[in-house]
């Protein structure tokens, strides 16, 4: 069982991490790079960048907070990958590690659930992952482009984990338990993080045009949907292939 779980998750995570890196090159990455040009103050109204104040932060690009090739910011000493192949390489490594992490959790759920899984049912698990990890948190904390305004980071991270845990528990109540009380408990759990509300910035604005920010939300959710379907299908397929022979 140990070998089956880890072999499935490692292969599925590796392939989905590489696969989604290719998709990102056409969906989210061009928008991130475009947004960083505004964030760096090269395009748009520089007056808008005076908006941040107490309790409000600009979401900035990778450490250099602008063009990595011109390290003029106070973070000059901090390391960041150079634009181009190096940046793509580190993003791909991060995607593979993240993909493997999600695949490990998904395959652990396959093992605990105990029901037969194949590529097709794996996609359903992937869609559940999309709902839990991507869609539900996006209602309170929409995917952010570099340069967007946001509340303090730790508060957002805490709410994100709370939302993911509550949505996962809610879906478990609705899918794996029968009866009206379980369904009601599931609905309450899914709704609870949104009734409490995610931390929001005191003011909105920032240098990135809303059209680009809106496009990024769609691109991020689309990319996440592809990632989760791909991970679910790969994990389900390899889980079935590595089944012990009867």
């Amino acid at each position: 069982m140990f070998r089956r779980i880890f072999a499935t998750a490692l292969i599925a995570g590796l392939l989905s991490g590489f696969g989604i890196s290719v998709v990102q090159e056409f969906t989210t990455t061009p928008i991130i790079i475009h947004a960083e040009k505004f964030e760096g103050g090269k395009v748009g109204d520089p007056q808008k960048q005076s908006l941040p104040h107490r309790g409000l932060k600009l979401i900035s690009p990778a450490l250099a907070h602008g063009d990595n090739s011109k390290k003029t910011h106070s973070d000059e000493g901090a390391w960041a990958p150079d634009d181009g192949i190096e940046r793509t390489l580190f993003t791909t490594i991060a995607n593979v590690l993240t993909g493997t992490g999600f695949a490990l959790i998904m395959v652990a759920c396959f093992a605990i659930a105990g029901s037969p899984i194949n590529g097709r049912t794996g996609v359903l698990w992937g869609l559940a992952g999309f709902g839990i990890i991507s869609l539900a948190p996006a209602l309170g904390l929409p995917p952010e482009v570099p340069g967007a305004m946001a509340a303090e980071l730790s508060g957002r991270q805490t709410w994100w984990f709370f939302c993911v845990a509550a949505t996962a528990a809610g879906l478990w109540c609705m899918i794996f338990r029968k009866g009206v009380p379980w369904a009601l408990a599931g609905i309450i759990l899914v709704a609870l993080p949104h009734l409490i509300g995610a931390p929001q910035p005191e003011r909105v604005g920032g240098p990135v045009p809303p059209e680009i920010a809106a496009h990024f939300v769609a691109a991020s959710l689309f990319t996440a949907a592809v990632f989760w379907c791909l991970t679910g299908w790969l994990a389900g397929t390899f889980w079935a292939r590595f089944a012990p022979e009867e």
Binding site: M1, F2, I5, F6, A9, Q24, T27, T28, T29, I32, K57, L58, I59, S60, P61, A62, L63, D75, A78, W79, A80, P81, R87, F90, T91, I93, A94, N95, L97, T98, T100, G101, F102, A103, L104, I105, V107, A108, A111, I112, G114, S134, P137, A138, L141, P142, P143, E144, V145, P146, A150, L153, R156, Q157, W160, S220, L221, T223, A224, F227
Partner: protein, 60 residues
């Protein structure tokens, strides 16, 4: 009776056999995601920056 006990033990054995590696996979998976998506380290943040934004993890 003995056969029934053996079956019960067998079922518990299977559950333990699943639970231990599954728990290990859950912990390792969470560790990888927290490391790449949530760690506050500047270097990790810079390396995983575009991945964090694409996956819509809260960033910066």
């Amino acid at each position: 009776m003995t056969q029934q006990n053996n079956q019960t033990l067998g079922t518990i054995g299977v559950k333990t056999q699943v639970a231990a590696p599954a728990l290990l996979a859950l912990l390792l998976g969470a560790f990888l995601i927290i490391g790449t998506g949530f760690a506050h380290s500047d270097a990790i943040h810079s390396a995983a920056h575009d991945s964090r934004h694409s996956f819509a993890f809260p960033c910066h």
